[in-house]
């Protein structure tokens, strides 16, 4: 299930659950030329738009040799960026995990989807409007010497805004598909609320939750637009990995930029691999 797409059909059967298409009668089969043409067009489109950009990241990263690659990612600024990004991730993920049980009301779902529809730049801007020097809480924050914008808390808040829907979006269809029978049974057998939750609900959703958190991590580490508005680009202090990519790139340190970018790309690939594994496991348990 695509995470960012409001799922209209919550019960899409996982891959492998459907019968093999070759067993279908001829009425639903396309002529061979159409099959080849469509498959070719689809693969060419994907190769052109997806594979090529991915390949170029790694090719450029290694173009100046592995040593440079290592030097670039060991640079103290980059390390500080990684540490800060991981901090963001930990906090954002903790926030996300804590709120996994959503009653699926239609207005609420719309509101949860809101950050998807809002430009990341605007997500950053609204936090500047609330916490910035000119903002609602700005004077109070300055008086009490609390820094939010151009500091770590601002980055965490903006990232939380942007990644807000991910875990929820992953879990709502899953929990809807599973229904409430097992929870009812648990309650009937005398379990209290927390017991029901820990022993029945949580084991049922653990793979979806796991994937949601991984995806949330990937988005949090990669968030660029919102973070670039609230961070203030202070090197070694409020500089996440994507911002570091931008700085290196604008300094014409292309190989360095791609070295850091390839780390983020590896993270993206790992996310996709985990997603495939999770889907495969859900198919097997279904």
């Amino acid at each position: 299930m695509a995470p960012a797409v409001p799922a209209p059909h919550a019960t899409r059967p996982p891959f492998g659950a459907r019968p093999a298409r070759s067993e279908l009668p001829r009425a639903t089969r396309d002529p061979a030329w159409a099959r080849w043409a469509l498959t070719g067009a689809a693969l060419a489109f994907l190769a052109f738009f997806l594979v090529l950009p991915l390949v170029v990241v790694f090719a450029q990263a290694f173009s100046k040799g592995g040593a440079y690659f290592l030097a670039a990612i060991r640079e103290p600024d980059a390390l500080a960026a990684i540490r800060l990004t991981l901090l963001t991730v930990a906090i954002a993920a903790a926030w996300a995990i804590a709120k996994f049980r959503f009653p699926g009301k239609s207005l609420l779902t719309t509101l949860i989807d809101l950050p998807f529809a809002v430009s990341p730049v605007i997500s950053g801007l609204v936090y500047v409007l609330v916490f910035g020097a000119q903002g609602w809480l700005g004077p109070w924050l300055i008086a009490h010497n609390i820094r939010i914008i151009f500091a770590v808390p601002g980055i965490v808040l903006a990232t939380a805004f942007v990644t807000f829907p991910f875990v929820a979006r992953e879990l709502i269809p899953l929990m809807q598909a599973q229904g409430t029978d097992e929870e009812y049974s648990a309650v009937t057998l005398g379990a209290n609320g927390w017991q029901t939750f820990w022993r029945v609900t949580l084991p049922n959703i653990r793979w979806g939750l796991f994937y949601g958190v991984i995806l949330c991590n990937a988005r949090a580490m990669g968030e660029f637009g919102a973070v670039s508005v609230v961070s203030g680009h202070i090197r070694g202090e409020t500089n996440t990995m994507p911002l570091h990519v931008e700085i290196l790139y604008n300094e014409y340190n292309i190989a360095g930029a791609f070295a850091v970018a390839s780390l983020l790309a590896l993270l993206a690939i790992a996310t996709l691999v985990i997603k495939s594994i999770v889907e495969w496991r859900q198919t097997r348990t279904a």
């Binding site: 799922a7 738009f49 991915l54 049980r101 009653p103 998807f116 990341p120 605007i122 990937a218 970018a261």
Partner: protein
Amino acid sequence: MTRARSSRSILPGFGLSLGFTLAYLGLIVLVPLSAAFLRTAGMSWHDFVAAVASPRVIAAYRLSFGASLAAGFVNMVFGLIVAWVLVRYSFPGKRIVDALVDLPFALPTAVAGIALTSLYSPNGWIGRWLAPLGIRVAFTWTGVFIALTFIGLPFVVRTVQPVLQELEPEIEEAASTLGANRRQTVIRILLPELLPSLLTGFALAFARALGEYGSVVFISGNMPMKTEIVPLLIITKLEQYDYRGATAIAVVMLVSSFVLLLLINLLQKWSRRFHTI
């Protein structure tokens, strides 16, 4: 299998979870968003119009909306083909291709931005071949369009794919037994069935493309009046400490996002009605 959690009264924890969700939603999402609207409410109408309708801003709207529409349209066509191929045909490596479709979700936008730029710049892998033909991609409208196509790619595929999977082959068989040829079956039976999800996917890709920043700023070249997208204009105004101007443009973009979101919800209601028949 689709069973809504209708009566939850026996299960405990409803008040707790709903209350927590609403509090979190309010603090993280709704209060900051309302700040943008309240800030703009303090501006006079004249200032507001001057901020959101200056020639430079209008050029940016034209670029953002035009390129997003074009990218959404290309994604609608190719997304349908990709979804069709993934659901109906089998070929070696299909699962890998299927996983790869989500790449634009997972890949940080800045990474996508520099990768696309180095592919299409005049000395890049693709740009090198286009340059002698007089075609410039990076730092032009085409570059913006390509970046927006990249980030919108998964939306149509992932909305059409589940609908296509749940479509029963019996419908097509019925059409066939009633004498329809394959072309008629596709145009009269399949396409109308897929239309709501196609439009939903298009609207999602369009909405995402409108707000996209990271993957576009590198490839667009950011020339005022020519290749400056709206989100970049907001950042430019912020860097000049023109908070009011930035907020006013942000409100225009927010309103268009809300309209799109409303449209997407209506489309999904429509498609759900289609499916319960």
